[in-house]
């Protein structure tokens, strides 16, 4: 089953065309890594797929539901408000700089949406929160505030927050770019654990060896286009495209 489907997605910021027609599919249980140079459109792609940035044209489906579609007359329609809320409940996004709510404890960061959006009881929300904290190796941090955690711990809280509502697919926008190598390890270990559980994930990353080890498939993007894609180990070890080769040579 396809959990993410994008067809010929185009996005421009004023004059600048950032996505020049991206088509991509992600199946259930698949881990896809997106790599490429800065400014190549990776983050924009993720932002378009997660509704943070509106696209100019193309088709995006999440979990089988149409998020946005360009009809035969060239008019682009987004799903109505109600469907949009439903579609948003199907995926989670982990940000590069965490975006935790600083005034909430770790527990409240994770449970607030469960209680006030998904209308779960406080007990139920706390149970989900405790499970996730154990999974993230943060079982003693429920009452801490984000400012008292290391960057790696904060990122693991934000992964827990994104997982709380039980999404079908999880997006990561350079989840370790704000972390030093030591802290990066803990976060990557958590993501690897999710991959082992067959969580469907799309990960924008600069960690090449991590992408090779964890992803099933890697997409190399540059200049707003998918330049090359293929099975992870093959693309990293044996890239075909010249542009991919020269990019990977830098690592």
């Amino acid at each position: 089953m396809k959990l993410l489907e994008m067809k010929n997605v185009k996005k421009s910021f004023e004059e600048l065309e950032v996505l020049k027609g991206i088509s991509l599919e992600v199946n259930q249980g698949e881990v896809v890594a997106i790599i490429g140079p800065s400014g190549g459109g990776k983050s924009t792609l993720l932002r378009c797929a997660t509704t943070l940035v509106p696209i100019n044209s193309g088709l995006i489906k999440i979990g089988g539901d149409t998020l946005v579609e360009t009809d035969d007359n060239g008019v682009t329609h987004y799903a109505d408000k109600k469907s949009l809320a439903h579609i948003r409940s199907k995926f989670g996004l982990v940000f590069q700089n965490f975006n935790l709510f600083p005034h909430f404890s770790v527990r409240r960061n994770i449970t607030e949406a469960l209680i006030h959006v998904h209308k779960k009881s406080r007990e139920e929300a706390n149970r989900i929160c405790d499970e996730l904290l154990v999974k993230m190796g943060l079982e003693d941090k429920g009452d801490s505030y984000p400012c008292n955690l290391s960057g790696g711990q904060q990122q693991r809280v934000s992964i827990a927050r994104a997982l709380a509502a039980n999404p079908e697919i999880l997006f990561f926008d350079e989840p370790t770019s704000a972390l030093d190598p030591e802290l990066t390890k803990g976060v990557l270990r958590v993501i690897r654990g999710l991959a082992d559980e067959k969580m469907t994930m799309v990960i924008v990353t600069h960690e090449m060896s991590f992408a090779r080890d964890v992803a099933d498939r890697i997409i190399f993007m540059d200049g707003g286009l998918i330049v090359e894609e293929g099975p992870a180990a093959e693309l990293i070890n044996n890239p075909k495209n010249e542009r991919t080769k020269s990019f990977l040579a830098g690592y």
Binding site: L52, F101, P102, E112, V117, H118, Y145, A165
Partner: protein, 223 residues
């Protein structure tokens, strides 16, 4: 010879009006300021333009003049006789004073709140949106609590200024504390009533400083 008990009872009577003006102005101007800040940030150019002019006039003209304009407006516009006018049981002079103070302070608060709201990173909105929070939930649960912390020092400034500004109500012949002190100083031919009024203002602001410091401390559990 300075009569302390007469001064105290007169200052006490004046203090009542000072407190009424102070409390009601805060009560009205803070929510109004939040609304004005929202309007000032509106994407609608007409709304934000009107609000911009409103703030500019409120900040750019004397509060004393604004009080007089509010007071005389019903007469100018509708020809209503202002002498002995009451609304409910309240003397219109007091109502006009509170309206004048409220719309003036709302303009200042609005700019403070706008700064506070705009200092919240875009990422907070994105995270809230993707977690499914509605616009209202995002504002009241995520944004506003952080704004409160950010604006507290600036709001304390305004509140302290308001305590002293209440003396401007004398322009509408309201016998607040400063007017009372002036009257006593004249009749007793002594500067002591004015000194005592100064001490009263200072004590009020001392209390405000303590309360606001505590509030800041309470919110310092995160940064």
């Amino acid at each position: 010879m300075h009569n302390i008990s007469s001064t105290l009872s007169q200052l006490g009577a004046g203090l009542k009006f000072t407190l009424i003006i102070f409390i009601f102005t805060l009560l009205f101007s803070i929510p109004l300021g939040l609304l004005v800040a929202k309007g000032r940030m509106s994407k609608n150019k007409i709304i934000s333009g009107i609000i911009r002019i409103y703030i500019s006039v409120m900040r750019g003209t004397p509060l004393m003049l604004q009080l007089m304009v509010v007071y005389f407006a019903p007469n100018f516009i509708f020809g209503i006789q202002l002498r002995d006018l009451t609304i409910g049981d309240v003397d219109y002079r007091l109502t006009a004073t509170i309206i004048g103070f409220s719309i003036n302070y709302a303009a200042y608060f609005a700019e403070i709140f706008r700064g506070g709201i705009q200092s919240i990173p875009q990422g907070q909105y994105h995270a809230a949106q993707l977690l499914g929070f509605s616009g209202a939930q995002t504002f009241f649960r995520i944004v506003l609590p952080q704004v409160v912390k950010n604006v507290l020092p600036a709001v304390t400034n305004e509140i302290i200024t308001l305590v002293k500004d209440t003396s401007l109500a004398q322009v509408l012949a309201i016998t607040e504390m400063f007017t009372a002190a002036k009257g006593q100083a004249a009749s007793q031919v002594s500067i002591m009533p004015l000194v005592m009024a100064g001490v009263f203002y200072y004590i009020m602001n001392g209390i405000i400083e303590i309360v606001m410091n505590r509030a800041e401390k309470k919110l310092s559990y995160y940064n």
